[in-house]
């Protein structure tokens, strides 16, 4: 069975490396993008099941990426979890309004982040971490 694919968009190589390790250990396939432009290209190419998006990015920040994803008919249905070090007080509402499914401030609690990923990917089978039976 094919593993769910998660696109990690972050300009920090350490974060990408760490998150990649964590996600693969939890049986997810991963892909990367390091800026706003390549995020869109990778989303088109990989058609991920979920995008984990940073906000402070070169070449079009996370807000721009969120807008472009929403405008694109074939990408607007991909759920986005925003993972950023930015202040929730000034960003949470704006991020959720821009179409993100969830907001986590870095560093996110691993248990909570994985729980959110599971429930976004398998809304009808929450918390099991198992792929949805077809």
């Amino acid at each position: 069975m094919e593993l769910p694919k998660i696109l990690i968009v972050d300009d920090d190589p350490e974060l990408r490396r760490g998150l990649n390790l964590r996600l693969r250990a939890n049986h997810y396939d991963t892909a990367y993008a390091t800026d706003g432009v390549s995020a869109m290209a990778m989303a088109q190419k990989e058609k991920p099941d979920l995008i984990i998006l940073d906000i402070g990015l070169p070449a079009g920040d996370g807000y721009v990426v969120l807008d472009r994803l929403q405008e694109n008919a074939s990408l607007s249905c991909i759920p986005v979890i925003v993972l950023t070090a930015r202040d929730p007080q000034y960003n949470r509402e704006r991020i959720l309004k821009a179409g993100a499914t969830a907001f986590f401030q870095k560093p996110a609690d691993n248990f909570e982040l994985l729980g959110a990923i599971r429930s976004v990917l398998n809304p009808r089978w929450p918390g099991t971490g198992m792929p949805q039976p077809s």
């Binding site: 998150l19 390790l21 607007s76 007080q89 949470r92 909570e112």
Partner: protein
């Protein structure tokens, strides 16, 4: 001096024509190019202010529509930036001092000043007021700068901390291979310190926000017992590790409180953690919640410890920013000294108060109060003094069934988002948004008491539904059902006051809405709804005054 400084517009509020003429004469003597307008009532003065802002107001205190200190207070409320010089017939040093303390720029006694003195008083009043305004502005700018600066710094600090957190947890979880027990212990220490640093950054931000009035509290109708249990459960392990007994007692049948559950949890965690910090091994920390003995419209929550206690001289300082107990061991001083300050501000925002009692050497008791949830308090503004509500009322309920696993941290965001959408749809001065409730089945229920006729109700329903549907993201997270229930106008000759009639009707509708949701028996008082209903049923009939 006079020619240069007294040019401008003077608004004279004076009802005695003789006095008014005399003051006008003095003003003309003082400066030729002074524009003077004179009105004889406070209300006309306030109207005139709204049309054109004068350089200064000369104010008589005894007017046909206002007397004494109330006169300048009303004016200060309407125009806080315009300098006011009181002209009084009364030489009352006490009143004069009080007036100046409350924001008036000068107090002159009629017949005791010549034109030169009047001109000087006006001139300095204007200068002082300008200085005050600029001081206030620079204070606000400084707070704003501090807030932005800290927000930026916290972002920059978080990035390397995230990296540490990420890789330490990767090691601890064995994702990079097995690790020996001793190394695991050391890594645990690293993780603990990382979390402490993160908590300090959050405290810094929160404290700055408290200062600039930006802390947000989203009041709901909650059971305090649940929050106490949650807090105690979260700190149980820490207490066991320090060999401290952690106990709790929550009085049976405690009414619901009006509070932000996340904030109350934050308050409790902070207080309990603080007590654990200063209590030696073998000691105990007890959390108690009961109806406040001083004022039964509040719940009182206290955290009692058997620690070192607080010295009498520290009692007043303990809630100050950056306060650290000078006698504490370095081990106990693991924060910035902002925790209790933030707690105090949060309690204040809820409308409660916080204090500490202590016998040094025997421990301390930190107590705070939270107001009980009261439908009648919320609804009171709708009912006018004649015991009527002037317009037809409708209760709009929005039932939301989350499509997600309950208990995720996102749940709080979801509620906030729904409340924000709801608030954007209704009129803030006419409609009352009730605190959101969580049903037994985990559904979220939002309610608005809106002023509307049939047609406007339709429009409002469409607007709310539309706003919820517009957010594709909300659509994916919550399924909503919007409905309206018309409320009957109060029965004029009833023994039951209008407010109580309104409450009863709301309770009936809420009852109808909430029970069919999951077919639960109304007798099981688990949901917040049923609890409200039972409280309503118990509540004595209130007077509508």
């Amino acid at each position: 001096m006079m020619d240069r400084n007294t040019t401008g517009h003077v608004l004279l509020i004076e009802d005695n024509p003789g006095d008014a003429d005399l003051i006008r004469l003095r003003l003309v003597e003082a400066s030729s190019d002074l524009e003077v307008s004179c009105v004889n009532r406070l209300s006309s003065g306030i109207e005139s202010l709204a049309q054109k802002t004068p350089s200064v107001v000369l104010l008589d205190l005894n007017l046909p529509d206002s007397h004494g200190a109330d006169t300048y207070r009303s004016l200060l409320k309407k125009a806080p930036t315009v300098p006011i010089v009181v002209l009084s017939g009364l030489e009352d040093e006490l009143l004069a001092t009080k007036a100046v303390h409350q924001g008036v720029q000068d107090y002159l006694v009629k017949g005791k000043f010549d034109s030169k003195q009047l001109a000087r008083a006006i001139h300095y009043a204007i200068e002082r007021q300008a200085l005050l305004i600029s001081l206030d502005m620079s204070r606000k700018q400084q707070l704003q700068f501090k807030d932005e600066f800290l927000s930026h710094v916290s972002h920059e600090l978080r990035t390397p901390l995230t990296s540490i957190h990420q890789f330490v947890t990767i090691l601890l979880d064995g994702l990079a291979g097995n690790i020996p027990a001793e190394q695991r212990e050391h890594l645990g220490t690293v993780l603990g310190s990382t979390n402490q640093l993160l908590a300090m950054i959050d405290d810094l931000l929160e404290a700055t926000r408290a200062e600039s009035g930006k802390l947000r509290v989203e009041l709901r109708c909650i059971s305090i017992g649940d929050t106490v249990i949650q807090a105690v459960t979260m700190l149980r392990a820490a207490a066991n590790e320090k060999q401290i007994r952690l106990e709790m007692t929550v009085d049976n049948g405690l009414p619901l409180v009006s509070a932000d559950p996340e904030r109350v949890l934050q308050i409790l965690l902070n207080l309990i953690d603080n007590s654990l910090k200063f209590t030696p091994a073998g000691g105990s920390v007890a959390v108690n919640a009961c109806l406040s003995p001083q004022d039964p419209t509040y719940v009182c929550i206290s955290v009692t410890d058997t620690g070192r206690g607080v010295s009498p001289e520290s009692k007043h300082l303990i809630f100050e920013r950056l306060y650290q107990d000078p006698n504490s061991s370095s081990n106990s001083r693991k924060g910035l000294g902002l925790g209790l300050y933030i707690v105090q501000e949060l309690v204040r925002l809820h409308g409660g108060r916080i204090w500490v009692e202590s016998q040094p050497g025997h421990g301390s008791v930190f107590s705070f109060t939270l107001p009980l949830f009261s439908l009648s308090k919320l609804l009171a503004p709708i009912v006018n003094s004649q015991g009527k509500w002037p317009d037809p009322l409708v209760l709009i309920t929005i039932e939301g069934t989350p499509r997600l696993q309950p208990g995720l941290p996102r749940r709080a965001n979801l509620r906030l988002q729904c409340m924000d959408i709801l608030r954007s749809c209704v009129s803030p001065d006419k409609d009352i948004v009730l605190p959101a409730l969580t049903g037994e089945d985990g559904s979220e229920i939002f309610m608005v008491v809106a002023t509307a006729d049939e047609r406007a109700t339709d429009i409002l329903l469409k607007r709310i539904t539309g706003q919820f549907q517009r957010s594709a993201e909300l659509q994916s997270r919550i399924e909503i059902r919007v409905s309206a229930h018309h409320l009957r106008p109060p029965q004029p000759n009833s023994d039951v006051p209008a407010l109580a009639q309104l409450e009863q009707q709301l309770a009936e509708v809420i009852n109808r809405v909430s029970i069919p949701v999951r077919g639960q028996q109304p007798s099981s008082p688990n949901s917040e709804f049923d609890l409200i209903l039972s409280k309503l049923a118990d509540a004595p009939v209130r007077n509508s005054n």
